[in-house]
Symmetry: C2
Subunit: 326 residues, 2 copies
């Protein structure tokens, strides 16, 4: 089993590689080789028993995608993307990487053409949806993205479904919830505070909450996200049918519910590290985001997320803090 991960230097790509290194197999088949690719050099996961190759290049340049698929990986995880804020700020770059890059990858697979038919797992996003929303967004709600990133992800989904239908590969699109708790440093993404108000206080540091406690959002842990990708790589796609893009399960909860879970997991001293500092700009951005889904197709297909925010916090404490709360 040969695996290619595009976007291998990102948080999800890195955690996916670590999971594969720990498992040693995918879908019961021993992994012989994993190629990690990104625009910056990815790090090899520790403890892998299979061969690991790390590559840095721009896969949207001519010939770039061809070189990556020439070794005919059995499973390709396509996690590479210009993120939302940058795709909005740099229109041409967003389309070049997120649309052209994705299409070049898909075409490179198609052009091999001699029966090569890999599984392609594509990470999409809840940014494919645009307000106004129903109370819970169902599996048949339409895609009217309100960002260039969301537009590019929706186009990637459509290409994935059409290339799959034509028999060029066996694709599945995974619409990730917001990943919480994101490890690492606080970032300036408008969504950053959902993680910041958990991660920083659990590590003994102060965090800023820029919105009201009534704000509701849609979460899954990094561990759940990796689980979605692994399940997407191994699921019997005959059961998925032609509608290849799936909203993943997640947890819809308010910031207030996040904070109460934090109190149960870490106590009052942890919660006291959250400083309320309302930011009308962030309030406004967040108001346009999806906050709840009814992801019954993915659940019926065996995708699993956390059922409570306490679980999400416990995953973070286990996976990132070695079980220790500050």
């Amino acid at each position: 089993m040969k695996i290619l991960i595009l976007g291998g230097a990102g948080m999800v790509g890195r955690k996916l590689a670590e999971r594969l290194a720990g498992d040693g197999r995918l879908g019961g088949i021993p992994i012989s080789r994993v190629v990690l690719h990104d625009i910056v050099m990815p790090a090899a996961p520790k403890g892998a028993t299979f061969q690991v190759e790390c590559l840095a290049s721009d896969f949207s340049l001519p010939g770039g995608a061809e070189r990556l698929v020439a070794s005919r990986p059995d499973v390709i995880f396509h996690l590479a993307a210009i993120v939302s804020g940058e795709a909005e700020a740099d229109f041409e770059k967003g389309y070049r990487i997120n649309l052209d890059g994705t299409r070049m990858l898909f075409d490179a697979i198609r052009r091999i053409g001699d029966g090569y038919h890999p599984r392609v797992v594509f990470t999409s996003s809840i940014a494919v949806f645009g307000a106004p929303f129903p109370e819970a967004i169902g599996d048949e709600f339409f895609n009217t993205p309100l960002t260039s990133y969301g537009t590019q992800k929706t186009i990637g989904e459509l290409l994935l479904a059409d290339y799959t239908r034509k028999g060029f590969f066996d694709g599945i699109g995974i619409r990730l919830p917001t990943i919480c708790v994101r490890p690492g440093l606080p970032n300036k993404a408008a969504s950053g505070f959902f993680s910041n108000i958990c991660r920083e206080p659990l590590a003994g540091k102060e965090a800023v909450l820029p919105v009201s406690e009534e704000v509701r959002h849609w979460h899954a842990s990094p561990r759940a996200a990796v689980g979605f990708l692994v399940h997407g790589a191994t699921i019997d796609t005959a059961k998925v049918g032609p509608r290849r893009n799936l909203t993943m399960p997640g947890l819809s909860c308010t910031v207030g519910e996040q904070i109460e879970a934090l109190r149960r997991v870490g106590g009052d001293k942890v919660v006291a590290r959250i400083r309320r500092q309302p930011d009308p700009v962030i309030e406004k951005i967040v108001a346009g985001w999806p906050r709840n889904f009814d992801a019954r197709r993915a659940v019926a297909l065996g995708f699993r997320a956390e059922a409570t925010f306490d679980e999400i916090l416990k995953v973070h404490v286990e996976d990132e803090l070695g079980g220790q709360i500050a």
Copy 2:
């Protein structure tokens, strides 16, 4: 008022040019110039009081779109496309014209960039939907096309909405129903019989009906289609909001209802010219098509189609047969 029509040699483009020639104005403003463009040379409409230029070229070649928009038309009708059957048979050509060509056009407009902000009316299709469907497809039903053509049209819709949101132009996407009665010769399109069984008998000729009378479909006349485009070119898009792609109103009726309308309009002798010759291949293709919509947004925005199949037939008799039934 300067107007550019891409796809000006097609049936809808030709009828649009004739309508503009008859009106002399668009949205109350006198038309000074119309450019008709297609891959084959379009014909100038008769009786135009404005300047008409007819051009033939491949707008998906480098520089092609730039040349077309360099004269800064105020309204651009983008009707050019590789049709469904050809896009399915020639995968690369379909993507090159329907996706790359559309994007090149949109980018050519964007790159002018000095405040140029034309209205762009894009013809999409009910092929953006894929079975299974609800009883009537509502305005918020998702796009899961089952053809490359439908995929390309959906991508065009997404680009139109994003380029509009970014302020590069003022776009509106018009999802046309099946056009009935199509003038001209019977063609081999799987949908051809819906028109053939009307047009041929009304002209004294025999037509083949390959499906059962229970088959239901979604129709509007060529005159209504042109009306959609003109309304799309002149509507106050502030009322449309960010969801720029609209399912047009139409008439949902069965083949049996078509035939009874034909009897009312043309009598038994006309209906007797329909020969039933079931074709399981066509039956199967048609079974996957949308058959009914609840297009309430477009109706609320003032788009109008025929309310009965009798009206659709009368439009054909007036516009194509000079009022004479054979």
